[in-house]
């Protein structure tokens, strides 16, 4: 999980049709590090209308500078894949970097911005909001 944003975008540029793009997203979801079953509880749920999303975080003080570690999962394949993309962006990054990195802009560069548009009441939008809130509190 050490792709830079540019590498991520390059990987998606390789696909010219949406089916391949989604297949890649779904594949990323399948490779997402599993979340502990004990963490997939209501307290860690991010509210969304269509699918369920869970998120836990921890501040790793041992790193210099300290970084945030995230684990997340969803019961929907595509959402899980999109979570994997967000993990590439934010997992293991310092709070300041997280606050500076616009997920919507990155999703736009890989043609998946519709999933993060703020007027969609889905768990993914709430998840990005929550990640930003956690980063702001840790900063």
């Amino acid at each position: 999980m050490t792709m830079t944003v540019d590498e991520l975008v390059e990987n998606f540029e390789f696909f010219d049709d949406w089916e391949d793009r989604y297949a890649y997203v779904i594949d990323m979801g399948k490779k997402l590090a599993p979340m502990d079953a004990g963490d997939m509880v209501d307290a860690n749920k991010v509210r969304g209308c269509m699918s369920q999303v869970w998120l836990v975080s921890a501040l790793d003080q041992g790193a210099s500078p300290p970084v945030l570690r995230f684990k997340a999962d969803s019961d929907a394949f595509i959402v899980k894949g999109l979570i994997a993309i967000l993990m590439e962006l934010y997992d293991g990054q310092p709070p300041a970097y997280i606050l500076d990195t616009d997920a919507l802009e990155v999703m736009g560069r890989i043609g998946l911005q519709q999933h993060l548009s703020p007027n969609r009441r889905n768990g993914l939008v709430s998840m990005v909001d929550k990640i930003k809130t956690i980063a702001a509190q840790a900063a």
């Binding site: 949406w18 089916e19 989604y22 297949a23 779904i26 209308c49 269509m50 699918s51 369920q52 969803s74 019961d75 929907a76 394949f77 595509i78 959402v79 889905n122």
Partner: protein
């Protein structure tokens, strides 16, 4: 004989009907739109859109107030829409037709006015296990405020009301039965005559939620002898922001006002005010004037085609779609009642409804995914949600083929 997209007797000129709906000519992701989410909201024919535009451009003013021509004309048009609704439901009097913002508002009106004004602690309300949240939560609020008891009648695995169990819930304490006429998730048409007769036998009133019924089948509130009937306009090819509460005149007369304000009073003084006659008593404030007129135009449109013809067309779509979708690997239909409208809720293999809806969207197919505002029903079937295709008067067998093709693609992607 195997059904196909081509060989079947046309019930009406579907191309001419589709030409009435400008939005059906649009494309989504470069594909012709295949609109199968009519249960959420239906598209609007030009006749409704034009009527709304005409009113705003030609005779718009507030109703029931001015002595000038615009106000008199629009008051007449607003009241004519009420008469159109009265005739559509075959109510005795237009006094029994109250315009609201939507069906939810109509149910809440009854919940607050009848529920809080008439029901007492220990009284019982019976709903079913296939209600929309709009026919659950208002009664929970009444329960929490008054101490009434809320009982839930079970449904079978096919999605039919279990009549024996329903009858067993009815007692002399049952004061209200609030049930759907057609399930928004399953399409089940409930046996309303029997539901009403059993409720009346114990002296209970009956409210039917007709939001998913009035566009599919004729409703005669007098023949049904139903006490309250509610529906929303936007699923009936009318505009958003308009709903209808039908209530028997003597019951509405006995109910206290729900909201206070302009237009619902006979006289106002600081010592006390008196209420206007029906239906104005329940229409506080400037009403949904143009929306009501738009709803009238929608009912005229549907009536001109004829509900019988629409029902036959949709029954053909339902049987074709049931056959077509049943052949898709891993597809499980939720809701297989003997009597149902053209609604197909389903799960598909391991794919989440959100996944399914996202993939078929790329093919121009609009379906609903999720719990459909019926979480207890999802729990009943042990699924987090379903994908739902709900057909309307303008849908075609070819669109069912498009849906089936898109679902096969889902299977290829997630298989």
């Amino acid at each position: 004989m195997t059904a196909t997209a081509q060989i079947h007797d046309p019930i009406y000129d579907i191309d001419a009907i589709r030409a009435d709906f400008p939005i059906l000519a649009k494309e989504v992701h470069g594909k012709p739109v295949c609109f199968l989410d009519n249960g959420a909201s239906a598209q609007k024919p030009r006749q409704v859109i034009d009527k709304i535009r005409w009113v705003y451009e030609n005779e718009y003013a507030n109703v029931h107030r001015g002595a000038y021509a615009f106000s008199e004309n629009i008051t007449a048009a607003y009241e004519a829409a009420r008469e159109t609704v009265r005739a559509y439901l075959n109510a005795r009097s237009e006094k029994e037709i109250v315009f609201t913002g939507n069906a939810t508002a109509a149910i809440n009106l009854v919940a607050y006015s009848y529920g809080r004004g008439v029901l007492k602690a220990g009284d019982e309300i019976v709903i079913s296990d296939m209600e929309h949240h709009s026919n659950i939560v208002p009664w929970q609020l009444v329960r929490d405020m008054t101490g009434v008891v809320l009982k839930v009648a079970p449904i079978s695995d096919d999605g039919e009301l279990v009549m024996d169990a329903y009858r067993a819930l009815l007692t002399d304490r049952t004061k209200l039965v609030a049930m759907t006429h057609v399930s928004n998730v399953l399409g089940t048409v409930t046996p309303v005559e029997q539901i009403i007769a059993a409720a009346h036998d114990v002296g209970a009133k009956v409210l039917l939620d007709g939001s998913q019924a009035v566009m599919h089948l004729p409703v005669d509130v007098q023949a049904l002898d139903v006490d309250f009937y509610v529906f929303t306009g936007h699923k009936l090819y009318g505009p958003t922001g308009i709903g209808v509460l039908y209530g028997k005149e003597e019951i509405l007369n006995a109910m206290p006002p729900f909201m206070g304000g302009g237009d619902m009073i006979a006289s106002v003084a600081y010592e006390g005010s008196t209420w206007a006659d029906l239906p104005a008593k329940f229409e506080a404030g400037t009403p949904q004037i143009v929306q009501a007129i738009g709803l009238g135009a929608a009912i005229d449109y549907v009536s001109a085609i004829g509900l019988d013809a629409i029902a036959r067309h949709e029954a053909d779509l339902l049987s074709y779609a049931t056959q077509r979708l049943s052949s898709i690997e891993g597809l499980r239909l939720i809701g297989t009642a003997a009597h149902k409208t053209a609604v197909l809720s389903f799960t598909l293999g391991d794919a989440h409804p959100h996944d399914v809806a996202t993939i078929v969207d790329r093919e121009g197919v609009c379906v609903r995914a999720g719990h459909h505002c019926a979480e207890p029903l999802m729990d009943r079937f042990g699924v987090p949600g379903t994908t739902r295709a709900s057909m309307g008067l303008y849908n075609t067998r070819a669109e069912i083929d498009t849906l089936a093709m898109a679902l096969e693609k889902v299977n290829r992607i997630f298989g």
